[in-house]
Amino acid sequence: MMKYTAKITIALKEGMLDPEARAIQHALANLGFSTEALSTARVFFITIDAENEEAAKAEAERMCERLLANPVIHRYEVEVGA
């Protein structure tokens, strides 16, 4: 078994309203920053033991399916490094 660190990014699906992003964009505008687009995402770093990189990635994806993401509104991306 090897230790792998999965970087899991959970973001809203394309076209989903992102109220927090909108509020942040307004706040940036108030500070004089003009932004064309702004979206938010959440990142998890999870260290796991696995046989290999593929197994670690598959395990991280199962975590997304079971808990970390809500398929109604979210998409996720998993990157695995040693």
Binding site: M16, L17, P19, R66, L67, N70, V72, I73
Partner: protein, 236 residues
């Protein structure tokens, strides 16, 4: 007849529901700590409002994946009544008891105020004592209550009469202005289960069950459940 109110760490409307069910409606009701699980036959299980697990990750996400939910899902699948209120509705949606999800309000702030709801169907145990199209006043108190579902799911909900309540104005008009949180099609109460025996709603009927609270309109949800149980024969 016996109701259960499930308590998670962070539930804070459990005793309000207990009061509404037992003192106001006169039905026996147990508070059930989630770690103890559903060990008895109950006629109805209520998942109350609050902030289970501090709303970490997403409101209701962690509570929805605790073992007690297995018992609640079995109860619902067998046609038993399940009422999810506010955080309970978020938990219900996260655990698949109703389709869709409740997420951050379109204006991302906590909204706590009385609101008007239009009763969309009376063909459910929860809404049978209302009139179709009736406007009722029940408060909301949430930051993550905006109902979201895919267009296909919304079509199905409408076709199957699974929308229980929509936000409306005092005259019953379902308009964007009357929609406090940006919910899809103003939906804030969704029916699930094989016999529309699950209701997940963001408004708090237990906070509108006595005139002294400003409205008793929510009481009919509990009374409707009780009437249904009486007709079907209590099993608890």
């Amino acid at each position: 007849m016996r109701f259960a109110v499930v308590q998670f760490g962070g539930s804070n409307c459990d005793r309000d529901v207990l009061h509404a069910v037992s003192d106001v409606c006169g039905v026996d009701c147990d508070l059930v700590w989630y770690k103890d699980g559903i060990t008895k036959d109950y006629d109805a299980i209520v998942i109350p409002g609050g902030f289970s697990y501090g709303d970490y990750l997403r409101a209701g996400a962690i509570a929805a994946r605790t073992p007690v939910m297995e018992g609640i899902r079995r109860h619902a699948a067998a046609g038993g009544l399940v009422l999810g209120i506010c955080n309970g509705a978020q938990i219900g949606a996260e655990s698949g008891l109703v389709p869709g999800t409740f997420t951050t309000n379109a204006t991302p702030k906590f909204i706590c105020r009385p609101i008007c709801l239009r009763v969309e169907t009376t063909a459910s145990p929860f809404t049978r004592l209302y009139k179709e199209g009736e406007v009722i006043r029940v408060p909301i108190a949430h930051k993550e209550g905006r109902y979201v579902a895919s267009p296909e799911e919304l079509t199905r909900l409408n076709a199957e009469g699974r929308v229980a309540f929509r936000f409306c104005d005092a005259d019953g008009n379902v308009t964007p202005v009357a929609n406090p949180n940006g919910a899809a099609e103003n939906i804030t109460g969704v029916l699930g289960g094989p016999a529309k025996n699950v209701l997940c709603l963001m408004p708090h009927p237990e906070r509108a069950s006595e005139e002294v609270l400003g409205s008793a309109d929510g009481k009919k949800i509990f009374l409707g459940m009780i009437r249904g149980i009486e007709e079907a024969g209590s099993r608890a």
